[in-house]
């Protein structure tokens, strides 16, 4: 495997930062090299923002933005109307969108021309499992499914537990773990 580059699009408060760095930590735990970094702007809740993840079998020496991602993850479907989320997406690259729509409906409604398009209703899952519309952890579950076994579901789950243990009560942690598992199963495309 060469280097896999992922770009996350979200809005402030949706957890794109946590997801981009958490995935890097998961990759590192799986014996790979990982790098995760968010784009820091004024950090307003609701403002469009980006996160980045690199995964590789070789040491990662890049310290620059990702301009030609292999995968783009969109945490908020309204960004499809605001931001050119597929900008620089590699030929044959994948797009994963948080939406109740099917991949074909996304293509039709937003005019997205990506062959490998995946969708998941991560907001619904997070509302049902966590009680809050924070779609980052279910999006992680859907993403690793779309990545086709490169990262194991178990390592994602144990890392979420580790990362959240100090911050959140057990109920919230369990809700997040359930959300990841559900999204892993329910992703379409």
């Amino acid at each position: 495997m060469g280097m896999l580059e992922i770009r996350w699009h979200g809005r402030g408060g949706q957890g794109a930062k946590t997801a981009s760095t958490l995935l890097a930590a998961v990759a590192i735990e799986e014996g790979k090299y990982g790098q995760g970094f968010p784009e820091y702007g004024p950090e307003r809740g609701g403002a469009p923002m980006k996160g980045f993840t690199r995964i590789s079998d070789e040491p990662i020496r890049y310290h620059c933005g990702i301009y030609h991602p292999d995968i783009v993850v969109v945490l908020d479907p309204t960004l499809l109307l605001l931001v050119n989320v597929t900008e620089g997406l590699k030929e044959g690259g994948s797009l994963l969108v948080n939406t109740p729509l099917s991949p074909d409906e996304v293509r039709k409604r937003y005019g997205v021309k990506v062959e490998k398009l995946y969708t998941i209703d991560a907001t619904k899952i997070s509302l049902e499992e966590i009680g809050k519309p924070i779609p980052n952890t279910p999006m992680l579950g859907a993403l690793i499914r779309a990545m086709g076994g490169m990262i194991s579901l178990e390592t994602v789950l144990s890392n979420i537990r580790k990362k959240f243990a100090r911050k959140f009560p057990e109920k919230v942690i369990q809700g997040n773990l359930n959300a990841v598992k559900r999204a892993y199963e329910e992703v379409k495309g």
Binding site: T21, A24, G36, P59, R61
Partner: protein, 394 residues
């Protein structure tokens, strides 16, 4: 030895090193993008992992003052800051080195105001280049960890006794999660050793005076002794790096030259952009273009002879500066490097680029374009532009 690989941000890696060194005293004041580092150190203290005495102060001027006081009292110390925080410390930063106090500080590089900008450039640390501190720059989180550990050994060496700042680029390194190969607490504590201060205000059996009036009768001689200490630091930096290499297998020196030997064009750069440049070098080498990169780790003391020797056979050198010397003849790295080459028999052509101010990203395409300009100079022998910019709107 089994590796202990952790996923850490640059700030986490710095805090982890501080945890393992366990300084006696640390002064804490928050400023973006440094805050998370001291936050983490404070967490180690609150959790009882380390027994470092935390002093929560009301400004950076006080942070450095508290550190100076503690160090003069014989304590092993630590503090951290960035940009305007460093600027506010200024008066005491100079006093710390002049009093020969082996303080270690993490300086998370951030652009100085105005306009207000929280992102990484080198205007803060380059502004402090003449304060008498040793300066170590880091390419990534691993080097943050390694440099902070080595900083204690350099600072506290009996021939040095100077403060050391370990710097790293704000956000680009401080907030990026990466793999860090860590040592055990025990190994780190053994490497830095128990701190036995040469002088201490608290040693009442051997009373000393710190910071008395020193006019034209002796001030000059004291500055001379500081100059000599900085020269010793140059030697000690390599000795410590050698020992660290034996412990970890990770080699450090004044700089890291990558595919420089037969290169037609070399970029000299410090900090996070060095890794990206190495990737570009590998790509261009595959296309048959002879390019290389030299990453400067130690800016103070400046390794002038060694740099000149490493670059003496390179036809064209492009120096990248992430800090402006307004009205100066080029940026700080360019200025000193070019001067260091003056006595070479055959001097390389040296050009200068400003890049990345206020944290602006420098990407692979821009670096490749810069290399191509340097190669063109090597081919034609003509310099169209001695001073340029990378990634700037005109």
């Amino acid at each position: 030895m089994a590796k202990n690989l952790l996923a850490l941000t640059g700030n986490d890696a710095g805090a982890y090193a501080v945890k393992q060194v366990q300084p006696d005293v640390a002064a804490v004041f928050p400023i973006t993008p440094q805050t998370e580092l001291m936050h983490k150190v404070a967490e180690y203290v609150a959790d009882g992992v380390i027994d470092t005495e935390l002093i929560t102060v009301e400004s950076e001027h006080s942070a450095m003052s508290a550190t100076v006081g503690a160090a003069a009292g014989g304590a092993r110390t630590f503090t951290a800051t960035a940009a305007n925080g460093f600027a506010l410390m200024w008066e005491i930063v100079y006093i710390a080195s002049s009093l020969r106090l082996p303080i270690v500080m993490a300086l998370i590089n951030r652009a100085l105001s105005a306009p207000i900008n929280i992102h990484g450039d080198h205007s803060d640390s380059m502004g402090g280049r003449d304060t008498g501190w040793v300066q170590l720059y880091s390419e990534g989180a691993q080097e943050v960890y390694d440099n902070i550990i080595q900083a204690y050994r350099i600072a506290e060496h009996k021939d040095v006794l100077l403060p050391v700042m370990a710097t790293f680029d704000g956000f680009i390194i401080s907030h990026t999660t990466e793999i860090v190969d860590t040592l055990t607490d025990e190994v780190v504590r053994k490497f830095v050793g128990e701190y036995k201060p040469a002088y201490s205000l608290l040693d009442i059996d051997h009373p000393i005076t710190v910071g008395p009036l020193d006019l034209y009768d002796w001030y000059f001689e004291h500055k001379r002794s500081q100059i000599e200490a900085t020269k010793h630091a140059k030697r000690v930096i390599l000795e410590v790096a050698d020992e660290f290499y034996k412990l970890t297998g990770r080699r450090y020196g004044y700089f890291d030259d990558y595919r420089v030997d037969d290169a037609e064009a070399v970029i000299v750069v410090l900090g996070s952009a060095a890794g990206t440049t190495k990737c570009v070098v590998d790509k261009m080498r595959k296309d048959g273009k002879k390019v290389g990169v030299l990453k400067l780790r130690v800016f103070r003391p400046f390794p002038a002879e060694e740099l000149a020797d490493a670059l003496k056979d390179v036809p064209v050198v492009g120096v990248l500066d992430r800090a402006v010397s307004f009205g100066g003849w080029g940026g700080p790295v360019f200025n000193e490097l070019r001067s260091a080459m003056y006595n070479l028999e055959r001097r390389p052509e040296v050009v200068n680029y400003y890049y990345g101010l206020g944290g602006r990203d420098i990407n692979t395409e821009q670096i490749e374009e810069t290399f191509n300009t340097l190669l063109e100079i090597a081919e034609t022998g003509k310099v169209k532009e001695r001073f340029g910019y990378i990634g700037l709107r005109e």
